[in-house]
């Protein structure tokens, strides 16, 4: 299995997509951070304001931006499996490893690893921007009173699980465009609806996005009431369950199909 995971990592690192995704992700996190830096302490029409830049509350809010990287890992996971069908490399893959469920298992593990790698990059990037911002604004950076460690663990866990989720989704749909569009629509449209409308929270917290939010265990008041998330461990279980469910269903259906 180690050889198969290594092979999957090689597949990823010998094509360009992974670093394009990494750069786009860092840019997006950077843009989000720029807004949070710019609007720190500014109150909008008497609405809830972001905390001041020199406070650790602000640092915590800024830190949680990293969770937005999940979609990129999910897309990468989808592509890791759908590109095999698109370029028919799946033929060589299954010739080398005819027990197909082993290939899927190796891809799931690789999806987790890639999620962790991307999360680490985000955390380093956040440390390199948020810490200096607090210090330059005259504040003092001390982790002790914040939930930044939990948020960091949450980012690591949610990105890793999004990788798993993407692999499961990709195995199920096989078609690259359908998989990516599905992932984006799901993350930005369907999930947002379920998290933005309080009446739907009871469902939304069970969806992958809601589950990922619970990993961050941070309350962000959207102005429509505080969403009730699952406990962090519950969120992790939900994400694992989605990824594995997709992978198992896929292994029993689409993955078994004839390769012609």
């Amino acid at each position: 299995m180690i050889g198969l995971v290594k092979a999957e990592l090689r597949k990823l690192f010998t094509t360009r997509l992974w670093w394009i995704m990494l750069i786009v992700m860092v840019v997006l996190v950077g843009v989000n951070l720029a807004f949070i830096i710019a609007f720190a302490g500014v109150s909008q029409n008497g609405g809830p304001a972001l905390p001041e830049r020199d406070t650790m509350e602000w640092a915590q809010v800024a830190w949680s931006v990293g969770s937005s990287g999940g979609i990129f890992v999910m897309i990468l996971g989808v592509v890791m499996i759908t590109s095999e069908y698109r370029y028919q490399t799946v033929t060589g893959t299954f010739l080398t490893t005819p027990r197909r469920e082993r290939v899927i298992a190796a891809k799931l593990i690789t999806g987790l690893l890639i999620g962790l790698l991307f999360a680490l990059v985000i955390l380093v990037f956040e440390a390199a921007t948020v810490v200096p911002t607090v210090l330059l604004s005259g504040g003092e950076f001390s982790l002790a009173e914040t939930r930044i460690p939990q948020v960091s663990v949450g980012i690591l866990a949610s990105l890793a699980l999004y990788g798993l989720f993407g692999i499961g989704l990709g195995a199920l749909v096989r078609n690259q465009i359908a998989g990516i569009v599905g992932a984006v629509v799901w993350a930005y449209v369907i999930e947002s609806i379920f998290t933005a409308i309080p009446a739907l929270h009871s469902v939304g917290k069970w969806l992958p996005g809601g589950a990922a939010q619970s990993l961050m265990s941070i309350d962000i008041d959207t102005g429509l009431g505080r969403p009730e998330w699952l406990p962090a461990w519950g969120g992790a279980l939900v994400l694992v369950a989605y990824g594995l469910l997709f992978a198992v269903v896929a292994s029993a259906t689409t993955v078994r199909r004839d390769i012609t």
């Binding site: 198969l4 028919q88 060589g92 893959t93 010739l95």
Partner: protein, 296 residues
Amino acid sequence: MTAIEIRDLAKSFGSVKAVDGVSFTVEAGSVTGYLGPNGAGKTTTLRSLLGLVTPDSGEALVDGRRYVTLPQPVSEVGAVLEATSFHPGRTALDHLRILCVAAGLPDQRAGESLEMVGLADVAGKRVGGFSLGMRQRLALSSALLGRPKIFILDEPANGLDPAGIEWLRGFLRHLAHDQGAAVLVSSHVLAEVEQTVDNVVIIAKGRLVRQGTLKELITNGDTAIRVRASNAADLAPALEAAGAAVERVEDGLLRVRGIDAEAVGQIALDRRVVLTEVTQERSDLQKVFLELTGER
């Protein structure tokens, strides 16, 4: 042991019977051509053999076992399926290194295998820029990674230029005759493989139509003898009397079917006719092939 064994293999796609009760075997040390027109069911057979397609019934075995149960498939069977199965953005060497690590083979096999097919110069180039012929060679090199003793190749000559085809012929003969490998190679052009194969299996519309050695195939059937004689007009009725079918091609030239050259000579001697030419017409392989597959 029989290297490749196909027994009563059948596979339908919807209402299309792609393969319909095909059986044949391939022994070590020989090249078998698996021939048939496009759509005959060659690819489906080979993919069933490799566990990529699940047959409806029958068996397809390598070394007496199903491919998917082989512990080290790449080291037992080398397969070349289609030349398009590469990620265009990946280099040739990277493509092979991925297969090496997945199969538990040492990485240096990648470079060695590229050298064996003459692609060492372009090892670091992206496959997207490769010609069809280069892709075929790359596919062949991936089949060589595990140094297997059984080769299964689906239309490997597609896209090769004449020099490439010549090279491929030599390579396949070398694998089978020098290294003792069992080689099964499909083609829809008999001429492509006729100088390479020892045995032929011909399939059309999913059904086996002929199987045997290449020699049997080309001498079997209704071959004619060209006879040139000083007094052909005299000879012809005598041949016909002996049961031959005689075609008068031109003055002094006959095409004779139904009796052999020795009988022609004997009759000519009896009639005191001087023969100036007796030639066994070699059957046109492509014609035989088209006749057999009903594509004429």
